[in-house]
Symmetry: C2
Subunit: 252 residues, 2 copies
């Protein structure tokens, strides 16, 4: 991999207000996560503790913790006494991950529709308005808009009221997707036309949540992810010369 060092790594001195200092293992985990999803490791490549330790200028202890985090995120396979190996991210993997997230986000939407809490709804509407504004602005890049949409997803995940669900959506499978979306950048997908479509989809979701229509909220939320999945796969199939082996994909 690229042997740059972690210059941006904050020592516990400066921390912004209310913001917990990120631990060394966290920083290493994030850095390596990015490296993995950016394709700086080959699939099945082995990760050696001592290597990372000298790279980041720490001992093997923190590195071990970081590697555990990578395992939790599904970015490496870890075998006791045999080491950690970077996962091979195939198109099938991406389909799988999208499907899981669709299912979980569907449940989150459902919980929100059941509870209809005002503070959340206000924030959601505000977020959607932001995205709408982005869509109307001329110079908005697909990437910029994608970030706005991702914030909406994050909002739903955080505030769904099911603590376990929030945790899963935060920790699990998130990095894989972002990596894919940014690395091979299939999300030139977000043409102005599709930006408006996405905004409409989210407005529909907000409406069903406000109305307490659980079933619809779940369905619409899932559909958003299925759309994203198909777009990502479609784009990636052109970049890579790889096919999805799955016998078809979930529709709704």
């Amino acid at each position: 991999m690229d042997l740059e060092t972690l210059d941006g790594m904050q020592k516990p001195a400066s921390r912004r207000r209310g913001e917990r200092t990120r631990t060394i293992p966290e920083q290493i985990a994030d850095h390596v996560s990015n490296a993995i999803v950016n394709g700086e490791y080959r699939g099945d490549e082995r990760i050696r503790e001592q290597e990372l330790a000298t790279l980041y200028g720490v001992s093997r202890g923190p590195v071990r913790e970081a590697i555990r985090t990578l395992q939790e995120r599904g970015l490496v396979n870890f075998f006791p006494r045999r080491g950690a190996y970077v996962v091979n991210i195939t198109l099938d993997t991406i389909v799988d991950v999208f499907n899981v997230r669709a299912a979980l986000m569907g449940l989150a939407a459902r919980d929100l529709a059941r509870r209809k809490e005002m503070p959340f709804l206000a924030d959601l509407r505000a977020g959607i308005a932001d995205a709408k504004a982005l869509a109307k602005t001329k110079g908005t890049t697909p990437q910029h808009f994608a970030r706005g949409i991702a914030r909406l997803g994050g909002l739903v995940a955080e505030r769904c009221g099911n603590h376990h669900l929030s945790r899963l959506l935060r920790d699990q499978l998130n990095h894989t997707l972002w990596g894919v979306i940014w690395r091979d950048r299939p999300l030139d997908f977000f043409t102005p036309r599709r930006q408006h479509a996405a905004v409409r989809e989210w407005e529909a979701i907000a409406t069903t949540i406000e109305a307490g229509e659980e079933k619809s909220a779940e369905l619409l939320m899932r559909r958003v992810f299925f759309t994203a999945r198909d777009a990502a796969i479609g784009a990636l199939q052109q970049t890579r010369s790889e096919r999805v082996s799955r016998a078809g994909m979930i529709k709704d």
Copy 2:
């Protein structure tokens, strides 16, 4: 907590065929997991590394890893530099966990229905047959039958073909549920009558999977978990003097 020591802890010497030796952190994590779900820790109780280390006769290193595992399993909250605290398992938590599992298992059923693989279907049918036999036998305890049913769930989780999904179902939220089910033993629920009902439900699931009816498979699978959820909550509400604060529960 109970200060018994880990006598059953295998040193790397003896291992059964094909069975990887369980690492020390794994063994500690499992032992403490059981202790937590068996109620040997109070909610919000702090876990000190050195305490566990001396308890199990190891240094703090392996204990730290075990604690991380507990965190992954959702059994402790961990705050950097402040320690690990046992989660407080409320009825709301249990509802949440069941809901997440229902969503994930629904997806698993769906994937299986799409792929209709013979080896799996054979195993599933065999497992159902076993459960049916149990239900027909006179002396079957609710607990014994519950284990049989749990095996079916495990089968679906393992073989769904979505690696990430399998991992989540294996590692996440599993221990919490089993603990609840066994500790406060609400699953006297499985009266002979309900045993037969459960078998019928699973037969229906198998049928829809064989027929490739994705949507139905998902729905039926979810329903099984919702039923289990309601049964567990109902039973626990009698044992504990606690109410579910959720404004109703998902039906299907």
